[in-house]
């Protein structure tokens, strides 16, 4: 062999474990041959990213044994990534939480309690907080991985029952800026089109997204489009880092972190300078606006605002790796193609200027009329499987009610109160704490009882250390509902074991407005229960504790329902039939019966069953595709932008100046730090870290360093380096690679080991509009601390 044993050991030194103490790595007992011998295949949706891949779970003797893609599904056409193929392996994992666990003080060991005791404890904990400190001392923090029914029933009990809008979720950390961008540019949240445009596009502009790893199956479609049409289709990849996504790009525009606002303004400059805009589209559908007061201006003012973004100036601002001609070429490809599709993700959203960055992408589409036609769309990719369906649509953020309604509008609150049959005025008019404010309020003991569902903020928050201290305080009663121990369950008083995907029934809504059902296929282990049951039972006890019948009224329609199927269906029916009626996400046609009959679910709006059975609305706002474009039409034009946020029913082109990151490098901290996902892992690895194949594929975080920076710092491949910011420090192996732009390092964020948890280093500054934190940029310094070192992969256990 050309690799000797000695070479092999040397190469693996930096990536090897000293021991497996504390690790649990059961190897799958179900190989391929057993898998295809399944007793039945149950069709559902992938549990992991926001792509919404449809898959089937193979079940044998009541146990999950395999997953395979659904070829007819219009999301993935049968393809799955490794996470989608393998997540069934965690369902029988010995680390599953199977009994309610409680401890009064957080330095005590957990003890098992019955469900009745657990729900009493949860009810008393929240009731005591309300009695002593008021309703706003309680909070719910959910997830874009909860099913819609779960988010909906939780927020209903919190708002209508406990009378607080302290309802948040981790989508605030990943896509709030996309929401802000869609609302302010198009007047309505969520994309106009969807994946259907990939195969019709001739120019694909991928910015701030390493979709090859974060959304691999959607990337496959983009890759296929390019490989099948190498000369006809242009791919532009704009990112400070060359990533696996860049492999299919005709042009990679590598800009200095945070300067993409200048880059996109420069593209707009070229579009105006070379008259590449679509004048008729602008005349028919658009206005120009500026400032907080949304002042309307004309196109000349817009043009004047771009004068400082000539391609030459922008190329310099962007760091010198892009030429002015690159910018001109990109603008021409974008404007002139038969259909241009933009796709982006956290590189745009997780920014202090996240909403503005979104606006500037939309600007390019509005100016060129690259919307509402085949292949043309401005498509924000979603990170989580139900951030759109559950949290954005189901009322999972502090300022929105279900059905895209703003909390602050009395008329909209009253609509929801009437639908729920509770007294008007019951939902408070003031929005609750947004995510970063919520955990700051925990630190400040303004929140005394918090329910954290299906997420791990003790690892996933930026600048996580001070927020962990708050959660660890005995002054705050913390309830966690989850399937595995996490860094957050380490801060809990009460852990409630929940049923996992395919162990209960519910709906996920993915990136492209598509709702898809996943039915129960196997029993949950031990005493794990679906969240909808947990909330119903908790609310009944809470009503007694607080002597408040309105709390009980919130769950009254769901009493007596069997928890696995009947109960979620009753919740879904109330939400869709009563609450989405007439809203832009009208889902009345997407009943469980309809969703179960579909290979791939329904795209809203879908007001009737007949329409839902066609698959729903492929292109929003377009007559002939979107039924609401007919019913809400204000004239005879083919496109009707009826979104609730724009009274003028126009698309808005925004004048947005370039503003840099909240924390730029300086003499003390001379490098940019950015972070991101790796293909084999999902979020905090509480799930994927328990699949041996996935853990082994990337057992640790590492940091990518540009070779020029590495040479200056004396760092060689696999050396251990320290990454330090004003907030914290971590250490991990270095990968010296032509990935990040010179002056920037890039670290993977999945690792939950205390020494390598990169969110200790990130900054918690946030966008003033969307309140989404700037995970993607902060200043740091890096120094070599040793040569390659044996490391230990780490997944937390119940006792940490």
């Amino acid at each position: 062999m050309s690799v000797t044993r000695r070479d092999f050991i040397k190469r693996s030194a930096a990536l090897t474990a000293a021991s497996y103490v504390g690790m649990n790595l059961p190897i799958g007992q179900h190989n391929v041959a057993q898998a295809v011998d399944a007793d039945k295949w149950v069709r559902g949706t992938c549990r992991l990213c926001g792509a919404g891949c449809r898959l089937e779970m193979g079940v044998k003797n009541g146990r999950p044994v395999a997953l395979r893609g659904v070829p007819k599904a219009r999301t993935n056409y049968g393809y799955l990534c490794m996470k989608g193929m393998l997540f069934y392996k965690i369902m029988q994992h010995p680390d599953r939480l199977v009994k309610p666990l409680y401890r009064e003080k957080k330095n005590q060991p957990f003890r098992e309690v019955s469900w009745d005791q657990a729900l009493d404890i949860a009810a008393k904990g929240f009731a005591d907080s309300v009695k002593k400190f008021g309703s706003d001392s309680t909070a719910y923090y959910g997830s874009g991985q909860c099913q819609t029914e779960e988010t909906y029933i939780f927020q209903k009990v919190m708002r209508g029952g406990l009378q607080t809008n302290n309802v948040e979720g981790n989508p605030r950390l990943c896509m709030a800026s996309a929401v802000g961008g869609y609302l302010t540019s198009f007047g309505a949240d969520e994309p106009i089109g969807g994946y259907d445009n990939i195969e019709r596009s001739y120019c694909i502009f991928i910015i701030g997204s390493n979709m090859a790893e974060a959304h691999p199956v959607i990337f496959r479609r983009v890759m296929r489009r390019k490989l099948d049409n190498p000369d006809k289709v242009k791919i532009i990849n704009a990112d400070p880092r060359i990533s696996p996504t860049s492999r299919i790009a005709d042009m990679h525009m590598q800009f200095r972190p945070g300067t993409d606002l200048a880059l996109m303004n420069a593209m707009a400059y070229v579009i105006l300078e070379e008259k590449l805009y679509n004048q008729k589209f602008l005349d028919d559908y658009c206005v120009f606006r500026v400032g907080k007061d949304k002042k309307q201006v004309n196109m000349a003012a817009f043009k004047e605002s771009l004068e400082k973004y000539t391609p030459e100036k922008a190329a310099r601002t962007c760091g010198g790796n892009i030429t002015a001609e690159d910018i001109r070429t990109a603008a021409r490809w974008f404007a002139k193609s038969q259909g241009t599709l933009s796709m982006w993700c956290m590189g745009i959203n997780q920014r202090k200027q996240g909403v503005w960055a979104n606006n500037l992408i939309h600007n390019l589409h509005i100016l060129t009329g690259q919307l509402c036609k085949p292949g043309a769309d401005s498509l924000s990719m979603t990170g989580q499987p139900n951030a759109c369906g559950g949290v954005r649509e189901g009322g999972g953020l502090c300022h929105i009610l279900p059905g895209h309604r703003l909390v602050k509008k009395e008329k909209l609150r009253n609509q929801v109160e009437d639908a729920w049959g509770i007294p008007r005025g019951r939902i408070p008019p003031k929005p609750g704490y947004h995510t970063m404010a919520m955990f700051q309020a925990v630190n400040e003991k303004k929140i005394r009882a918090i329910w954290i569902n299906c997420t791990s903020p003790a690892q996933s928050l930026p600048n996580v250390t001070p927020y962990r201290k708050g959660l660890q305080s005995d002054d705050v009663f913390v309830v966690c509902t989850d399937i595995f121990p996490t860094k957050t369950t380490e801060c809990a008083n009460l852990i409630l074991p929940t049923a996992f995907h395919f162990e209960k029934t519910g709906v996920y809504g993915c990136t492209e407005r598509r709702s898809q059902i996943t039915p129960k296929a196997v029993d949950a282990p031990g005493e794990a229960m679906p969240e909808v049951w947990i909330v119903r039972e908790w609310a009944l006890k809470l009503a007694k504790e607080l002597n408040d019948p309105v709390i009980a009224k919130c769950v009254e329609p769901f009493l007596g329902k069997e928890p696995d199927c009947e109960l979620p269906e009753a919740v879904w029916d109330e939400y869709t039939q009563k609450v989405t009626k007439g809203r832009d996400n009208d889902l009345r046609g997407a009943t469980y019966e309809v969703l179960k009959s579909m290979d791939d679910g329904v795209q809203w709006p879908a007001p009737t069953k007949e329409f839902a059975l066609t698959g729903g609305t492929v292109m929003k706002f377009v007559r002939g595709s979107d039924p609401m474009a007919e019913t809400l039409a204000k004239d005879d034009k083919p496109y009707q932008f009826y979104g609730p946020a724009h009274a003028d029913k126009k698309l808005w082109v925004w004048l947005r100046p370039y503003v840099g990151a909240d924390e730029e490098p300086d003499a003390e901290y001379p490098l940019y730090l950015s972070t991101g996902r790796i293909i084999d892992h999902w979020h905090t690895t509480s799930m994927t870290g328990r699949v041996p194949e996935l853990l082994r594929a990337n057992p640790y975080s590492y940091v990518e360093i540009n070779p020029k920076d590495a040479a200056r710092m004396g760092v060689k491949p696999n050396d251990m380096v320290e990454i330090e910011s004003r907030r914290g420090r971590v250490e991990m192996p270095a990968k010296v690679v032509e990935g990040p732009i010179e002056g920037m390092v890039f670290a993977y964020w999945h690792d939950m080991h205390e020494d390598r948890m990169i969110n200790k280093v990130c900054k918690d500054a946030y966008d003033p509009g969307s309140k989404e934190p700037e995970f993607k940029i902060c200043a740091c310094r890096v120094r070599r601390i040793s040569g390659p070192r044996a490391l230990k992969p780490y997944i937390t256990t119940l006792n940490g």
Binding site: M1, S12, T16, A18, I27, N31, P71, Y79, C81, E693
Partner: protein, 130 residues
Amino acid sequence: MKKLISVLFLLALVAGLTACNAALNGQAKQIVTPPQAVLADHPTLTEQEKLLPCFECHKDVTPEIYSDWYNSAHGIANVKCYQCHGTFEELTKVPAVDSCSFCHAAEMEHADTTPCWACHLTHKFTGHQK
């Protein structure tokens, strides 16, 4: 030495192909072939060494295979070694054809009883080799 390894690999692959039987089952054609036993000729790895991605060694040990994969649609789309060949405890030189069906159920409709790689170039999977 590299050529010898490649030749051995190809011989093993051919042997694997001749062992394939076909059957239909459910949604797609699924060729039920028990995967080969765990590779006897692979160096024994410690638990620590198993944390290294396959390609870290195989780009040197089997560079042609690595290159074919890296430049294929599988390589560009990050379909990794373990997704077809399994992880160490279940490692197979010639995967069970069933494993293709997890993503390629529709494509396997035209496969009749023939394994995919009998026609599509192994690791490249572009076009047909005959």
